[in-house]
Amino acid sequence: MKNVMSNKTVIALYVLPALFLVLFLIYIPMILTGYYGLMKWDGVGEMKFIGLDNYIKLVQDKLFWESTWHSILLGLFSVLSLIGYLIVSLVLASKIKGANIFRKIYIIPMLLSSVAIAQLWIKIFDPMNGLINSFLTSIGVENVPLWLADPEIALYAIFIPIVWQYAGFYIIIIYAALVNVPEELIEAARIDGANAFQIAYKIKVPLISGVLKVLVILAIVGSLKYFDLIYVMTGGGPGHATEVMASYMYKEAFGKYNFGYGSAIGFGLLVISMVATWTIQKLMKTKEDN
């Protein structure tokens, strides 16, 4: 066993192509991001080395930490929504009639590009003509919420389309994991008198825990660097109420021509993502040990 499965040539053959691509196209930009963070650079003219100034400014930048907090909140919401997706997937993977059609339909929103999703939700949230407020007005609510225009609720309002956009992504993965659970185990449990809930909770979920853990990490890291709908729907506003790390970085680097500082934000985002991933992995490990 050992000999075949530790063949160096094979390992190199399998790993190196992908590793090369990732090192050159992702790690070089990563390192350069950290490097540009040391510069005062508008991205157009001459670069000037300014040491750690940008990073010191970053640590003291209230707006950066605010946007970090918003990103973390998005991460928490995404992780919580995983529970919902798990339940949906369990239902879809159980052998109820029509599950196949439901599954196919549920994943459809994921096929849409962000352009469409953003436009749809802007119309849903529109304070006057929008779907929600038209409904609220028709049932007699007078002070309708302004949704994306209200700094108090804009952040939570915009989480809804984001979480919804990714529902298909998570459901399809959890579903694939669930259908991978060996039928014999479920049969055996059923013979032992377990009902559907017990089978789900005691057999299916533990068996796909590896996949679920990966999804937790994907949800958190994906949220920390999330950009698309926020940029299109609110641009981080009103007044930074929905600013997240990636939108803040983009505005500094591409909007304000502070490419150096924007890179420092990008590097900060990377560090925060790594710390978060490491922490989650540790947390999930200890749980397993107990």
């Binding site: 003509n129 994991a177 991978n180 990636a246």
Partner: protein, 296 residues
């Protein structure tokens, strides 16, 4: 959820009285009602998009955004096809997507196999490298990547797009595959090793078929990402002949005017192929499993 609660519930349910079966029926009805409502919600965006595609710009602004089009503008589709240039972009989108998805799946499977099934010292570190690669924000990569591609003369070359798609999808693909490989039984592979199979044979004839469901899943995810991507295309490609269908959408966005009807039409045209492929691949998720278990 409390497991004890579940047990008590189940003991209540076991005796088959008329009362409990009625409860069960009501439960099923509620379940289906919920399922159907959710299904309608999930289907609505497609319907909305379709009616958007048939509106004039004045209707888009003027009427309720959820009203039906008054006088369906089928011209929007002609507009999208010709003015939007979709006819040029369509094939590019198709082959960039296909090639990148295949490359990502193969390379990703190789890595995941090597990391979960083979024995070597640095595997933990290499895996961490791939996972950390997922964390880079897109906009940090544009200027360095442009430079790299420029140095190797790949600007305005479809290779730059395919390579970027493949590379940037590798981390997430590997992570998804990883979860599955870990829960996959090793017995079959071990038996194959005993029989003197080569690693390549094990990989191609046992592991790949066994992971077909998750491969279909990641294929779907990769495909959607690639199909809808436009930042890389806009940055690395300048010739019309190499651009993709998402550029067609953006052709209708202007500084002072955006043609939403035509955007809707472009989006409808562009979603159809992936919808069809998705429906096809979606069935493979289950079939793949069947094939895998037969071999097992």
């Amino acid at each position: 959820m409390n497991p004890n609660e579940l047990t008590t519930k189940s003991t209540k349910l076991t005796p088959k009285t008329g009362y409990t079966s009625l409860l069960k029926k009501i439960g099923m009805v509620i379940l289906y009602l919920v399922l159907i409502v959710v299904a309608l919600v999930q289907l609505y965006p497609l319907i909305w998009l379709f009616q958007l595609s048939l509106k004039t710009n004045q209707e888009v602004f003027g009427m309720s955004p959820f009203a039906l089009p008054q006088d369906p503008q089928w011209d929007n589709y002609i507009d999208a096809w010709t003015t939007g240039g979709i006819n040029n972009y369509f094939l590019n989108s198709v082959w960039y997507t296909i090639v990148a998805v295949i490359l990502t799946l193969i390379l990703g499977s190789f890595v995941t196999f090597a990391v979960t099934r083979m024995e070597w010292k640095l595997k933990g570190f290499v895996l961490a490298l791939f996972m950390a690669a997922y964390m880079i924000p897109l906009h940090s990569t544009l200027i360095p990547l442009f430079n790299i591609f420029n140095k190797v003369n790949l600007i305005d070359n479809p290779l730059s797009i395919i390579i970027s798609y493949t590379t940037f999808n590798l981390p997430i693909t590997i992570m998804i595959l990883l979860g599955f490989y870990q829960s996959l039984p090793r017995e079959i592979e071990e038996a194959a090793v005993m029989d003197g199979c080569s690693v390549h044979r094990i990989f191609f004839q046992i592991t790949i078929p066994m992971t077909a469901p998750v491969l279909s899943t990641t294929a779907i995810i990769n495909m959607i990402y690639n199909w809808n991507e436009f930042v890389f295309v806009n940055t690395f490609i300048s010739s019309e002949k190499w651009k993709t269908i998402t550029v067609g959408v953006n052709n209708f966005v202007g500084q002072y005017l955006t043609d939403w009807g035509a955007i809707g039409a472009t989006l409808v045209i562009s979603i159809l192929p992936i919808l069809l492929v998705y429906l096809f691949l979606s069935d493979r998720i289950i079939e793949g499993l069947a094939a895998g278990s037969v071999k097992g």
